[in-house]
Symmetry: C2
Subunit: 374 residues, 2 copies
């Protein structure tokens, strides 16, 4: 099997799986229980919280709220900030629906972050669009469709220099452990997903900068500092901690390695002379995601042919794979609507090999030639 | 170890753990992916959904929404129903905070469900309190502190006979697989927790009766019929399904078995002549929970002494174990406030043995005698 859909969900890394299974058996008590089984379970959670916070390079007073998924984290941040109807919220329609949909549910003024061709933010226009009513800016660390990698610190600084009180929320799902992450004081909240970085599905976290207030969305027993009620999930939290800390150890080495994989794929696809084009440049993107345009062939068809060869890719974001044809994200990235259905996304892990790429290119070459002959 | 805190969290049952670990490795793809790894994962989820719905004896058109916890399910139901400020919501302050807290967050008229001594609902007064503005009734199937078991079908019928349009939401966390569950058309929504019935932490479900509308609370990719966005968690869902179906197979046999355990504990504690009293009768409660009043000794102290003997119980609900002294639930159940801190909760699993009970009674007898001597 050649699995090139890691941006949708990636297998659990062995060390995170081992820690998880051990904790599933050991930490069966409720961490809120008054007895020592509960207390020792809670102690492990607090240790994991501190470890993760430290690895994100935030300050000691920053908060980390454990929850069930990145979608929940994005909802908590975006809908949890106090906003007036006159407040302006800046977001990109090209970002993942777990940020754009909560934004659309707000009763405030929505402002699109302008993109240039290639999915890059039009910084000048964006900064110009901010005003005194701007209260929230929602960014992706790495866009899940194009792979565009935004320099959140540089952008954050420019925003805060103009309007220091704007809350900057970053969806870090495709960024953390893939590209360098340094949550200096410029970032007010940052979303983490477990299953995109080698932890099991069902866990995520929201980083909240010291002093930032987020309104409770799950009411109940008052867990997670009263912000997110629900039984604290020691096994999933320990596994998430392992996936993050292990992933961050080699973030630069792995990024370089995957960059070579991504380059190789681009070169070989160019060399195969199939008419494939690359709307997103490697310089502007995370190397873990490579989306390209097929030569007037629907990506769904190619996806089917590839899966017959036991090769797995994405024809668009897994989360919105039901929406065919028009794609608001690609539209914002200035890709002509007629071409949206030709976008194929491949996404890698640090363990993707050059052999995987060579087999992939060989097979997709055969498939495209076959389809064109028909 | 003698673990008598199953109502707070219970170990994963072996069959549910095996299915879980297998699926953790196999079903790593995103179930929303367009390729066959995603599709086969989603197929398993849909099969689990149908199996659970069938086992709950609802109709074929009823819905089941998978989510991360019972707290989330209670929040989704209670805050997801359209309510006007003039609408009346009937709830019990004695119920779990994951129902009472979402209720308190509503902008509607809150009405307490009156309880009698022993934690039983004062049916006559309750039915009298309903009127044409009553829109939501929130009940527990089994109360997590007292163990009171409410006949939700009989109560539901009496409510619907007077006002057919009232939405009846039931928190089934301590009920499902412990007492018989038959979600006939009288129940509009029903909350299920995984980790209270032998599935891992991090999964729950909300049963929603055909035709009932519940507003989305997690916005994003549109999963779970658009009601609950977040990557669908095949491994946790399959494990939940196994825990439910296995648990329901022997619900009556196990209930009888645990009833004998509960009776034995009551008899032996009475016989020990320690001054322990039983505010909640076995006839009115689920046998899985036995809460009793210590003879003017703080339950926290006894809990500490018991844990030194490797015996684990609860001094109050795990979820609110931080709130000392006054307990709104016990207050509603007519227990004098001066006695709230004397309540000790034991809770059983189908595997709790008579030996466990005998050891427990022996140890608590020694502890109480020792404390009284000092």
């Amino acid at each position: 099997m050649i699995y090139l859909d890691h941006a949708a969900s990636t297998p659990i890394v062995e060390s995170a799986l081992n820690i998880y299974i051990k904790s599933l058996r050991e930490d069966f008590a409720n961490p809120s229980a008054a007895h020592k089984l509960g207390k020792s379970s809670m102690k492990k959670v607090e240790r994991a919280r501190q470890l993760i916070l430290k690895s994100l390079k935030g300050s000691k007073k920053d908060q980390l709220i454990f929850l069930s998924s990145a979608t929940e984290a994005n909802n908590l941040a975006i809908k949890g900030i106090k906003l007036l109807p006159s407040d302006r919220v800046h977001y990109s329609v090209g970002d993942h629906p777990s940020t754009s949909e909560p934004v659309k549910s707000l009763n405030s003024q929505l402002v699109e972050i302008p993109l240039l061709e290639g999915g890059v933010i039009d910084e000048a226009k964006f900064l110009e669009s901010l005003d005194k009513d701007s209260k929230l800016v929602v960014l992706s660390h790495v866009n899940n469709q194009s792979g565009n990698h935004y320099d959140i610190l540089s952008l954050g600084k420019k925003v805060k220099d103009k309007f220091p009180n704007i809350h900057i929320h970053v969806d870090g799902v495709q960024g953390l452990t893939k590209v360098e992450t340094n949550l200096s004081s410029l970032i007010d909240s940052y979303t983490i997903s477990g299953h995109k970085i080698g932890a099991p599905k069902g866990v995520g976290a929201l980083f909240i900068k010291d002093g930032v207030e987020v309104e409770t969305q799950l009411h109940g027993g008052g867990h997670e500092f009263g912000i997110r009620s629900s039984t604290v999930n020691t096994p999933l939290i320990l596994s998430l901690c392992e996936a993050i800390t292990a992933g961050l150890e080699d973030v630069i080495t792995n990024n370089k390695k995957v960059k070579r994989i991504n380059s190789l794929m681009r070169e070989e696809l160019e060399a195969a002379d199939l008419g494939i084009t690359f709307p997103f440049s490697l310089d502007d993107t995370s190397p873990y995601i490579l989306s390209f345009l097929l030569p007037s062939i629907s990506s769904d068809i190619v996806l089917r042919h590839l899966e017959m060869k036991d090769i797995y890719v994405a024809s668009s974001s897994a989360c919105s794979s039901k929406a065919k044809g028009f794609n608001a994200g690609f539209d914002a990235m200035k890709i002509d609507q007629s071409k949206h259905k030709f976008v194929l996304r491949t996404s890698f892990s640090k363990d993707t090999t050059t052999e995987d790429i060579e087999t992939f290119v060989k097979e997709i070459t055969n498939i495209i030639k076959e389809i064109k002959r028909l």
